[in-house]
Symmetry: C2
Subunit: 425 residues, 2 copies
């Protein structure tokens, strides 16, 4: 039987979840893995704050050094969120020779190279299953189970808040602002929802996942990012009629030395495995050259599911004699030998508001034809007040080509209302 | 850089897949994991048989000892299938101190305890990701990522052949026998399909998965097993009308010391994540007390996907200083402290052929009421030749109760045509 002395950095929602899981399930873990996790010290901002779990007050401290610098503490769990001071505290813990387990996608995505360097230098473990998609074992799967594969593509619903909002908009036809307010009332969206609805959260996760999948650093700042704030219920409804479901997807594809990495609202066919991932669930769909299509689905957030991932990392760390690190050159720059393209190819959904006049459709098709874009589906609705809604889905085309075509289409007679990318495969 | 000398037992579909993956992808693996797998010898039945891959004839042998007893060979990959002689050869390899990686669910399910004992005694690795659901990392997930969970339930589509047949029957309304013939013609079902269509294959996999999930041996012979040979397209169609999809599910549930483990055709709601797993894909849905719902989806068979799992096991084995074994008491008997019930609770779909006479429905409902079973949905179709089709779905009830009720219902006026279990949660 081994005893591992543990310190927490932070004790909010996730910290309390880990406390609860270890309290209630510690005996089972001890019985099976022959390891006891002893929580020695917990860093908090306010010692007297009311918490979900009854954590003994004598464990609480407001001094990070009592955790990072305590020689008895072997493992530090970081649940603070945000880039700083979390990164500094983790660095200190690694420098002091401690294994670090973090649930912090932002700190990891932005400072992974520094953290990994410190971990390697001090021969410490650095684990982060909980930083990406909560309970879903996508980090372990990518690192351990898919090493036999050239991963060519990943597409994920990696943010529960936005998936909840889009699911409700799709099922009820509600407007974005109304559904967001509802989600905030239910605690499913933050009072300041920017990080979720503008796709930052998804882009942090995609940076981590795509780096592991491609064995090459894909930094946060090369990721194209578009949130869901401009999504209209009209587009969701038109897409539905055409057989598509709208999701905020984090997409990374690799073709030789060229990758594209992007977060944006995306239509996928209703029959795609990701299309039925509803509410606050997360899922990652991927394609490997040997494994073919694969999808992992589960709870991407929440106290207990995130604690599940944290404790699995703790057990994984203990089960290994030597720490496991990604083998690629970690850095804050795009891996050398790779280029990121913003001219990816996919299908495009386009909605136009056109004057109901002769020649308008000819103008539209001419502009598309000029860029070599052909139409797969077209739907024109009866004109109201002399204006018709034209909705179309193109065949595969380049991002730059569609932008050029839409710029040419936009005119006195035709307004481009929306353009949404379609992953139709 | 490490070189690991490898021997194959068998070189059929999977063996050729592993050969191909190592040939084409070996440089990538060497680059990343700093390990080179050198294939020294391959056991085959017929040296001159034409194979999918051009394997050099000088590597082939018909003598198993040239693999199991060669001191240079450190890792033995078993692709023979069937219980014997595969088990004996694997035992021999373990006794000779070699790591064993197997894709053989039957040999593992039936002789796991003997193999694990030999592996532990000789401090060798024994890995079997490829034995259950091909490329899907369900073994690694259960063993590494879900240790922080009390897994309460697993439900899997773990056999691609039967899922292909049921998907076609559901989408096209075809009869079982016709679709099976078609699947055989396409190579998706064996000439003798018994192991697949009678649920043996699924039960082997369920034995392995449930043992790992519950940390307690659930042997093959305690698993209730019913195949798909009696499934009628009429039931599939009626179920569809009521909002259900028919799948052959491998189900294991645990409630304290009582488990149920069963393979049978099952209706699930169309919105369940398993319902849209079509064709030859596999998926395992599970529920843990911390992780909540989770599903892993992917290719459960095929040369390349199975090779993906085999090679991931090889790399996992190499990455570990000490082999990793399940910690429960492995044996050929049900773990002590556990009991298996055949009186599980679920909903039931029932189809009756009833004379169109007064009192018949009263008889049916009385028999159900006698056993405390209440009806959730009921559908009665116009009588033809004086006989009406009555289709119903019950609320949750016990297996024994429904059987008693159906025995009482079955009479001169009412024929019980079919009973199919429904997992409605």
């Amino acid at each position: 039987m081994k005893t591992i002395c543990v310190g927490f950095l932070g004790c909010g929602n996730i910290g309390c979840g880990v406390w609860k899981l270890l309290s209630e399930f510690g005996q089972d873990i001890l019985h099976r893995a022959q390891v006891k996790f002893k929580i020695k010290r917990i860093l908090v901002r306010d010692i007297h704050k009311k918490r979900d779990e009854t954590v003994p007050e004598e464990l609480l401290t407001t001094d990070p050094a009592q955790i990072t610098d305590d020689p008895e503490i072997q493992m530090v769990l970081e649940f603070m969120g945000g880039e700083e001071p979390a990164t500094q505290y983790m660095l200190r813990a690694l420098e002091m020779g401690k294994t670090v387990v973090t649930a912090n996608k932002m700190a990891l995505a932005l400072n992974w190279h520094i953290l990994q360097e410190a971990a390697e230098k001090n021969n410490c473990g650095l684990y982060y299953e909980a930083a990406v998609c909560g309970a879903i074992p996508i980090i372990r799967t990518t690192v351990d189970s898919l090493q036999s594969n050239r991963i060519e593509e990943m597409m994920g619903i990696v943010n529960g808040t936005t998936n909840y909002i889009l699911t409700r908009m799709s099922q009820e036809g509600g407007d974005y602002a109304d559904v967001l307010r509802d989600a905030q009332r239910l605690g499913l969206a933050e009072p300041d929802p920017t990080s979720d609805v503008e796709g930052f959260d998804a882009a942090y996760k995609l940076s981590i996942l795509s780096s592991l999948a491609f064995h090459a650093r894909v930094p946060f700042d090369v990721i194209y990012r578009q949130g869901i704030t401009q999504v209209s219920s009209a587009d969701i409804a038109y897409g539905k009629e055409l057989g598509y479901t709208l999701k905020l997807l984090a997409i990374a594809k690799r073709d030789g030395g060229v990758i594209d990495a992007r977060v944006h609202p995306t239509f996928i066919p209703n029959a795609h495995p990701l299309a039925s991932v509803n509410g606050s669930f997360n899922a990652i769909f991927l394609h490997g050259h040997a494994c073919d299509d694969m999808m992992l689905f589960g709870r991407g957030a929440g106290s207990a599911p995130t604690a599940s991932a944290v404790v699995s990392d703790m057990l994984y760390a203990v089960s290994r004699d030597t720490p496991r690190h990604p083998t690629f050159q970690n850095s804050d720059k795009l891996a050398s030998g790779l280029t990121v393209t913003n001219d990816w190819r996919c299908s495009f959904y386009v909605r136009l508001n056109a004057s109901d006049r002769p020649g308008v459709l000819a103008h539209i098709t001419a502009c598309l034809g000029q860029e070599g874009i052909s139409i797969r589906n077209l739907m024109q609705r009866d004109a109201v007040d002399g204006h018709a809604q034209i909705v179309m889905i193109t065949h595969d085309a380049g991002e730059c080509a569609i932008r050029k075509a839409l710029a040419a289409i936009d005119s006195a007679d035709v307004r481009v209302e929306s353009m949404i990318r379609v992953e139709a495969k």
